[in-house]
Each structure stands twice: as structure tokens, then as C-alpha cells.
């Protein structure tokens, strides 16, 4: 990475400059000593690594110049509490976008700050802990410390470690939920409202699933129309032996919002993890998923569906590393692109020496509705074991005119027929979503997104 260009960034009146002043809030917070040390070390990492440069292979297609030189100011929960106006706006947005999803717990964060009044826990059950990181720090500091892990190496992730002030801590305690209690559904909702100053949020999400547990964790990101902000999130999921975690990111940031998120997964023996990314909003959005299958028999399934219109860009970057034996990974991504939108899919499957009987599959299909939309799809394989099965494929296609005619010949209007076909295409991926209320919500959101006339130019 280029240190010179980076120091230039840090010297300017830029987001980088905001980062430098980050030492102050870090020091101002009453943090445990170990956390202060972790943040300082992460700041060192960030200063050394800096923001990714376009010469970085993994960032080649993601233009972050708006973020680096942008006006985003790190949000300081303590100094600028969320106004009652912002809270009212958040309430409206929640009422409009999120019906009851029959959750075990819903934690709501507005402009980065946890809102107990908007959150709910029902019914109370003792196999689930879901609270803000601040609360967890006072109640279970050692668990938080273990879940945070060590200093990450990527610039944005290091920045999250330096600057995160809140976030969610979820602990699924095993092995069995109480009689009659189903798989817990934990919903973490982040709402960004329109502020005079564009803010940068660094939400941290920690999920710890004890051996044998089964759970669904949903992260939803909503932005109010017109809100301009940056989300730089880092989510870390630890799946214990034989446990199963289904994880969903529902990204509906505002049209001017930037969403960067990294998702790190650690899997024990026989653990299963499934990820579902639903990207529908944001001006620029990017999800980086890194899953390491270190122990024998671990399984991951990563799926995603993205619908990009206007001039949006949506990125998915996955790195799946097979280390243990008999591990398997499945990746299925479906993208719909219209107008002048761009999508990037970069999927790396890495099979380490000794990872025998690895079974890795990846499929990416993009549907282009406009000649001006662009897709960069890069499936990559790196195999260092001999007894493995790996398959990948990427396709880019248009709507099938014969299917369109078939629907029209039954009386379905052309617009509606196109929408049906697009929904059908995306539907193959939506069908894999866990939890029927969530599936219905996503179907509904995608339908209204496709029905909306996109009058936007940015």
C-alpha cells in the first residue's frame, strides 16, 4: 500500500483528518485499559495501512475517493446525542419499512446510538443475550474481549476498531432453548437520519454462538431519504462446534448513503454458517465476507441478491478459506442491474494444503436490464490440495424474450411481465432466506423497488 498518498490524505481537511482527531474521543471514553490498547494499536495499523488504494487488487473496482476526501465526520455519540427530531424521523422510517418480524429481540440504533426505547425483547429467555456493546462491556467484558479478537489488518476494519463507539453484542448460550422456544431471531437495526453534517458511523457487531445452538441474526440498515452518511461496519461471528448461525444483511441505505461492511466468520468443528446479503439501497455499498473453515466438517453457504438501479454500485467480495477436511462451501449470488448501475462480485475460494475432501461451489448470475449497466464478476480459485471438488460459474444475461412473450400472451402487460421475470430471477435467491416473515418483507421490498420509477440521476 502506498504510504505517501495515504499521508497526503491524512494531512488534508478530510475524513482522514477526522480520523486523526479520533484519539481524543477514544481517550475521553471511559474504556477498559485493554480496549484502549486495542484501539491504539488499530490506529497504528490504520496509519500504516491507510485507506485501500485503487492499485489494491481487492479495491480495483471500488472507487472510495468520495469517502477518503468526503466530508464525513466521525460520529461521537457522547458529544452529540440524538435529537428528538431525529428520533421521530427514525420512528417513521421504522414504521414504514419494518413490520413485526416475530423477533426474539430487536435492537435499534439511531445515528449510531443504541435506543432502548425503540428496542424490544420478547419474550425474555435466558439462552439469549442481546445488548449494546457498552452494556456488554460492563456485564461481560471478557466475552466482548474474546469476540473482538485482535487488531484487524485492513484499513477500514482497523478504522472501525479505532472508532466504534457502540454496536451490538449477541450471545447464544447453549445448548438447548427452553421448552417451546424456537430458534431465536435477533434483529439489529441501524437507522441513519438526515443530519446537517454528514456523519460516519462505525458499528461493530459481535455474535457468539455457543456449541450446539441454532440462531438467526438479521442486520438491517436503513437510511432516511436525503441522508448523506457513511457506514463502516465490522461484524464478527463465532460459531461454536455443531452450532448453526444464519446471518442476514438487509441493506437499504439512503440514495446518498455509503455502506462498507466486513463480515468475519470463525467456525468450529461441524459448525454451519449461512449468510444472506440483500442489497437494495445506498449510493455505494460493499460487503466483504471472509469465512475460514478451520475445523473438520464445517460448512458455509453464502448467498446474496442485489438490485441496483440509477448510478448505484454494489459490491460483494468473498474469501472462503478451506483448511479442515470435509469442509464445504456454497455461494449463490443473483444481481439485477438497471440504468447505469454497477455491480462487482469478487469471490475467492482458497483450499489450503491438507484440506482434503473440500467441496466448494460458487455461482454468480447477473441480469442486465440496461445496456449501460456494468458488471465485474471475478470468480477465483486457489487450490493446494488434490482430493477436492470445486466449481464456479459466472453469467451475465438479459431477460428472455420468449419468456416475456409467453407472459404477455396470457394478458400480462409488458411492464408487469418484465417485473415478474426479474422477481423470478431474484426469487431463486430469496427462496433461500430463512424465516418466512423476513422472506415476505424482502419480497415486498424488492417488488416496490422494481415498481418505483427511478427518477434519480445520482
Amino acid at each position: 500500500m502506498n504510504v505517501r498518498s495515504n499521508s497526503r490524505v491524512l494531512e488534508g481537511r478530510t475524513y482522514g483528518a477526522g480520523v486523526l482527531t479520533a484519539r481524543a474521543p477514544v481517550a475521553a471514553q471511559a474504556l477498559p485499559e485493554w480496549l484502549g490498547a486495542l484501539k491504539s494499536s488499530a490506529l497504528g495499523t490504520f496509519e500504516a495501512a491507510g485507506f485501500p488504494s485503487p492499485r489494491d487488487e481487492a479495491w480495483r473496482f471500488t472507487d472510495i475517493s468520495d469517502i477518503v476526501s468526503g466530508p464525513f465526520v466521525p460520529q461521537e455519540v457522547a458529544r452529540s446525542p440524538v435529537s428528538s427530531g431525529a428520533l421521530a424521523a427514525a420512528r417513521r422510517l421504522l414504521a414504514e419499512r419494518l413490520q413485526d418480524l416475530d423477533e426474539t429481540a430487536r435492537l435499534v440504533f439511531v445515528d449510531g446510538a443504541f435506543q432502548a426505547a425503540l428496542s424490544r425483547f420478547s419474550p425474555k429467555r435466558d439462552d439469549v443475550v442481546a445488548c449494546s456493546i457498552d452494556q456488554a462491556l460492563s456485564r461481560h467484558p471478557q466475552r466482548v474481549r474474546a469476540a473482538l479478537g485482535s487488531d484487524p489488518h485492513d484499513g477500514f476494519q482497523a478504522l472501525n476498531t479505532v472508532l466504534f463507539q457502540s454496536g451490538a453484542f449477541v450471545h447464544l448460550a447453549g445448548p438447548r432453548p427452553a421448552e417451546g422456544a424456537g430458534r431465536p431471531v435477533i434483529h439489529l437495526v441501524h437507522v441513519a437520519t438526515e443530519r446537517a453534517v454528514p456523519l460516519a458511523f462505525h458499528p461493530r457487531t459481535l455474535v457468539v454462538a455457543d456449541p450446539g445452538t441454532s440462531s438467526l441474526v438479521i442486520e438491517t440498515y436503513l437510511g432516511a431519504d436525503g441522508a448523506r452518511y457513511l457506514v463502516n461496519g465490522l461484524s464478527q461471528v463465532t460459531v461454536g462446534a455443531g452450532a448453526h448461525v444464519a446471518h442476514v444483511v438487509l441493506q437499504e441505505e439512503s440514495r446518498a448513503g455509503y455502506h462498507l461492511q466486513a463480515l468475519e466468520i470463525r467456525l468450529d468443528a461441524g459448525a454451519r454458517f449461512s449468510s444472506h446479503s440483500v442489497a437494495l439501497g445506498g449510493h455505494r455499498s460493499r460487503l466483504d465476507i471472509a469465512a475460514t473453515l478451520e475445523q473438520d466438517g464445517a460448512e458455509v453457504a453464502l448467498q446474496g441478491v442485489y438490485v441496483a438501479r440509477g448510478r448505484r454500485q454494489m459490491d460483494h467480495h468473498t474469501v472462503v478459506t478451506h483448511v479442515g477436511r470435509h469442509t464445504s462451501s456454497r455461494q449463490v449470488y443473483r444481481g439485477v442491474l438497471d440504468d447505469r448501475a454497477t455491480a462487482v462480485f469478487d469471490g475467492m475460494i482458497h483450499v489450503a494444503p491438507g484440506a482434503q475432501k473440500t467441496d466448494a461451489r460458487q455461482s454468480v448470475r447477473n441480469l442486465l436490464l440496461s445496456g449501460d449497466a456494468v458488471v465485474h464478476a471475478q470468480p477465483r480459485l486457489e487450490i493446494n490440495a488434490d482430493d477436492v471438488q470445486c466449481a464456479h460459474g459466472a453469467t451475465i444475461g438479459q431477460l428472455d424474450p420468449e419468456a416475456l412473450f409467453y407472459l404477455q400472451s396470457r394478458g400480462v402487460g409488458q411492464e408487469e411481465a418484465r417485473r415478474l421475470l426479474v422477481q423470478g430471477f431474484a426469487g431463486e435467491s430469496i427462496q433461500t432466506l430463512p424465516h418466512p416473515p423476513l422472506r415476505r418483507l424482502v419480497e415486498h421490498r424488492i417488488r416496490s423497488l422494481l415498481e418505483a420509477h427511478e427518477g434519480e440521476t445520482s
Binding site: E402, L407, S409, R410, E428
Partner: protein, 248 residues
């Protein structure tokens, strides 16, 4: 009801139909037979409004009005239905959702009230019965993974649901076992009425034993080279098309 006048149709500048005339009145059943590649499906697709064919001469009139400029969906709403020779698979779209959308579009076109999910389901079950289909087909994706015969039954099921005035059945009887053939014939006969008309495109006499045509045409090389009553079908079954093509 339908008048086809001197119809010339090309695909990518290649002439396929070279002057077809046909007139069918309400209440009638006409059968079109003819060798492979003679243009039968082309005629059917053009009647339904497929945009991939160019009408270079002639006209198609429904109730005396040209429909050449009318979109496929408007034709469907006006009561034209095509049972496809090769029904299209549409992954991810549930049969029931598709059919409810289609039925309500057609009902709006007829000035009827739309059906809600419950009323739709009741009607769909009733029509499934007519063609002997399992209700499970409603929740499956349109034609996806259906066997050849199931696809054909699904076409007739859709016809039963949409209740068209003019149904064009392109080889709906091909590849069917005896029971399925009876189910298809059943679907057609259940719909027959003095204000509906059918065009049956077929290679076999068999279907015509169940659904007796008023008139039989032979299409060869883009033209109707022979027409007659139902006995023409029997003759073709015996003699093939060679004698007609030689004459044409």
C-alpha cells in the same frame, strides 16, 4: 370472428407464410395439419402477436378489425389464447402468482371485477379438476421441470382459466399419453360454446376423434394447399402429405 387475408410472414427476411387465407366463425373448430416446417407454428405465433415475425403482406382481422398493431397482451385481453407447442419455463415465478396476474389482467380487459386470492384459488382448483392436474402444480414455478405432458396440461389449464373466445392449440396433443389426451380433449370440449372458436394444429387424427372439427386445412410450404371436412384428416393419416406437396 377471425379473418386471415393473404397473410405473408417472414422471419429475418426469410419468407415462411406465403399467402394464407382463413375464416373462422364463432362456434367452429378448425384443424390445421401439415408437414414439419410448413409454417403452422409461425401462423400461431403471429396470431398471438409475437414480435419476432414480420407481416409483409395481408391482414389479420378479429371481429372485422385489424389486430396487426395490437400488442400480445391486448390480444389476450380481447380473447385470443395460444397454447404453445413448446411452453416456456419461467424459474422463480409461481404458477399461481402468474395465473392470478394474468387472469385479473384479462378480467379487467373484459370489464369484470378482479378476483382476490381466495376466489382465485377456488376457481383454479375447479379448473385443475377439468384437466386432471394436482393442485401442487399451482405452487411450482411456471413449467419448470414439468414433463412434456404436464406442460401441455398446464396450457389447457390456463385456457380453462382464461376462457378465451379464440383458442389456438399448437400441437397440444403431441407427446401425450391416452389419459392426458383425454384430459386435453375434455378441457377443449368443456369450453366449447356457440360464441367460442378453436384452431387445432395437429399431426394426428387422434385428437380429432375427441374434438370433431368443422373444417380441416393442410398447410404446406407456407400455403394452404387443401381444405376439406373431417374425412380429410383420415385420408392424410393413410396417405401422408406427399401427394399434396407434389400437387402444390
Amino acid at each position: 370472428m377471425l379473418t386471415i387475408r393473404d397473410l405473408h410472414v417472414s422471419v429475418q427476411d426469410k419468407p415462411i407464410l406465403k399467402g394464407v387465407d382463413l375464416e373462422i366463425d364463432a362456434g367452429q373448430v378448425h384443424a390445421i395439419m401439415g408437414p414439419n416446417g410448413s409454417g403452422k407454428s409461425t401462423l400461431a405465433q403471429v396470431l398471438a402477436g409475437h414480435g419476432g415475425y414480420q407481416v409483409t403482406r395481408g391482414d389479420i382481422l378479429l371481429d372485422g378489425r385489424s389486430i396487426l398493431e395490437v400488442s400480445p397482451e391486448e390480444r389476450a385481453r380481447a380473447g385470443i389464447f395460444l397454447s404453445f407447442q413448446y411452453p416456456v419455463e419461467i424459474p422463480g415465478v409461481a404458477n399461481s402468482y402468474f395465473l392470478k396476474t394474468a387472469l385479473n389482467a384479462v378480467r379487467r380487459g373484459r370489464g369484470e371485477e378482479e378476483l382476490d386470492s381466495i376466489a382465485f384459488l377456488a376457481l383454479a382448483r375447479e379448473k385443475l379438476d377439468v384437466v386432471g392436474m394436482d393442485p401442487r402444480f399451482l405452487s411450482r414455478a411456471v413449467n419448470e421441470g414439468f414433463s412434456g405432458g404436464e406442460k401441455k396440461r398446464n396450457e389447457i389449464f390456463q385456457m380453462a382459466l382464461l376462457e378465451p373466445r379464440l383458442a389456438i392449440l399448437d400441437e397440444t396433443d403431441s407427446g401425450l399419453d391416452i389419459d392426458a389426451l383425454k384430459a386435453v380433449a375434455n378441457g377443449i370440449n368443456a369450453l366449447r360454446s356457440p360464441d367460442r372458436a378453436f384452431i387445432l394444429i395437429t399431426h394426428y387424427q387422434r385428437l380429432l376423434d375427441y374434438v370433431v372439427p368443422d373444417k380441416v386445412y393442410v398447410l404446406a410450404n407456407g400455403r394452404i394447399v387443401r381444405s376439406g371436412g373431417r374425412e380429410l384428416a383420415q385420408e392424410l393419416e393413410k396417405r401422408g402429405y406427399g401427394w399434396l406437396e407434389a400437387a402444390a
